[in-house]
C-alpha cells in the first residue's frame, strides 16, 4: 500500500520525513539543523559561465531574430493548415528563447518585446489581418532594438519603440 491509497476524507494528512535523507546524501549529518551551503567558488564559477555565454549571445540573438523574420514571412503566405500551426508554434518557441537569452544577458528591451510577442502569440490564432499587424510591430521593434543596441528601457528610442507596439496593440487588438 502506498500513501496514496489512504482516503483522506475530511482528514488532513501530514507526511513527515523521519530523517533528512537529502542532507545525509549531501554529506552533512542529519542532526545538524543549520542550513548548509554551496561553496561560493562554485557559484562564482556558474556565474562566470553565464558571463562567457553572454559574450556570445549577440550572435545567437541575431540568428534567432533572423529565423523569426523568415518564419513570419512564410506564415503570412501560407493557408490556415497544420504546417502553419507548426510554424506558429516555432515562432512562439523562438520568442520564448529570445526572451530567456536576452533577459539573462541584460538586453532588457529585447526581452521586453520578445516576451510581449510570445504572450501575444500564445493568446491568438493569427488569422486576422489586425493580429498580423501586431505581430509585425513586435518583429520590427525586435529588429530595430537589436540593430540600434538599445538595452535601457528608459532610453528615448526604447520609449518610442514601446509606444509604437503599444499603439498597434491598442488599435488592432
Amino acid at each position: 500500500m502506498t500513501s496514496k491509497d489512504r482516503k483522506p476524507g475530511n482528514t488532513v494528512e501530514i507526511f513527515v520525513q523521519k530523517y533528512n535523507l537529502l542532507k545525509n546524501k549531501a554529506g552533512v549529518r542529519t542532526n545538524i539543523k543549520d542550513p548548509g551551503f554551496i561553496e561560493d567558488k562554485k557559484i562564482e564559477a556558474a556565474d562566470e559561465l553565464i558571463t562567457q555565454l553572454c559574450e556570445k549571445s549577440k550572435e545567437k540573438l541575431e540568428e534567432q531574430i533572423g529565423m523569426l523574420v523568415v518564419l513570419w514571412k512564410d506564415i503570412q503566405e501560407m493557408p490556415d493548415n497544420a504546417a502553419r500551426k507548426e510554424k506558429t508554434q516555432k515562432i512562439f518557441t523562438i520568442a520564448h528563447e529570445i526572451k530567456d537569452i536576452s533577459a539573462l544577458c541584460n538586453y532588457n528591451l529585447i526581452a521586453h518585446f520578445a516576451e510581449s510577442l510570445r504572450d501575444y502569440i500564445d493568446e491568438t490564432t493569427i488569422n486576422l489581418k489586425n493580429q498580423r499587424i501586431i505581430i509585425q510591430a513586435h518583429i520590427d521593434a525586435l529588429n530595430t532594438t537589436f540593430k540600434t543596441g538599445v538595452s535601457d528601457e528608459n532610453d528615448p528610442v526604447a520609449e518610442e519603440l514601446k509606444s509604437k507596439v503599444k499603439i498597434a496593440i491598442q488599435k488592432y487588438h
Binding site: 513527515v16 533528512n20 554529506g27 530567456d100
Partner: protein, 201 residues
C-alpha cells in the same frame, strides 16, 4: 583527575557531533532531472549544475519525455535512476508537455517514490497568479528567470536544508504551503472539522 579528563573528552566529542557550523553540501551523489525545451538554457543550466558538483544530470526536452523516463525507469524495479532522482528542475512553459502537466503527473503518481519528489519550477513568467498556481499544484520552489548561480544554489539548498512536510487533503497534495508556523488568534473560519494525522515516511 582521570574522570575530569574523560568528561572533558566526552564533552568535546559531543560538541563535535552536534556542532552547528554550516557545512558545504557535496552534491556528487545527487541526481537531478532537468526538463527544459530550450537547448540553450538546458545546456547552460546543466553546466551550472555540474559546476555545483551535481553527480548526475538527466536531461529532457519536455514533460512528455520526462514522464516517459520516469515511467520506464519506475516500471523496472531494479531501476538505475528512479530511486536516485533527488530533485526535479523543470521549466514551466514548454511545447509538448508543460511544467504544469509534469507537476500534476508527479504529484498524482501512485508511487511514493515519484510523488514525493522535490520539484523546482523555473519560469520566465513572474505573475502572482503563477506563483499561487505552482504552490497549489504542489511545487516546492519556484525560480524566476533570468537564472543566476546564486538563485539556483539557493533553491537547491532550500530543498536540502529543510524539507517541508507533505500535506494531503481532498483537494491538495504537496509540500506544506506554510513555511512558518505562526500563531493565529482570529476566528476559525474553516467550515469542516479537520483531523490532522502525522505519518512518518
Amino acid at each position: 583527575m582521570i574522570l575530569e579528563s574523560f568528561t572533558c573528552i566526552r564533552t568535546k566529542i559531543l560538541a563535535a557531533l552536534f556542532q552547528s557550523n554550516p557545512e558545504p553540501y557535496d552534491l556528487n551523489n545527487f541526481t537531478i532531472l532537468l526538463v527544459e525545451d530550450s537547448s540553450y538554457m538546458q545546456n547552460l543550466t546543466s553546466e551550472m549544475l555540474k559546476l555545483f558538483g551535481v553527480g548526475d544530470i538527466l536531461r529532457c526536452d519536455n514533460a512528455k519525455e520526462a514522464i516517459d523516463l520516469l515511467t520506464i525507469t519506475h516500471a523496472r524495479k531494479s531501476s538505475r535512476h528512479i530511486d536516485k532522482i533527488d530533485i526535479v528542475l523543470t521549466d514551466w512553459l514548454m511545447p509538448n508537455g508543460s511544467g504544469e502537466y509534469l507537476v500534476k503527473w508527479i504529484r498524482g503518481h501512485e508511487s511514493d517514490v515519484v510523488r514525493f519528489m522535490p520539484i523546482i519550477v523555473i519560469s520566465g513568467y513572474t505573475t502572482e497568479k503563477l506563483t499561487f498556481k505552482t504552490r497549489s499544484l504542489g511545487v516546492n520552489e519556484i525560480l524566476v528567470k533570468p537564472v543566476s548561480g546564486k538563485l539556483i544554489a539557493s533553491r537547491i539548498c532550500s530543498i536540502i536544508d529543510a524539507p517541508r512536510p507533505f500535506v494531503q487533503t481532498k483537494t491538495f497534495f504537496g509540500p506544506d504551503r506554510r513555511r512558518r508556523d505562526l500563531p493565529y488568534s482570529g476566528e476559525n473560519r474553516r467550515s469542516q472539522k479537520q483531523q490532522i494525522v502525522r505519518l512518518e515516511i
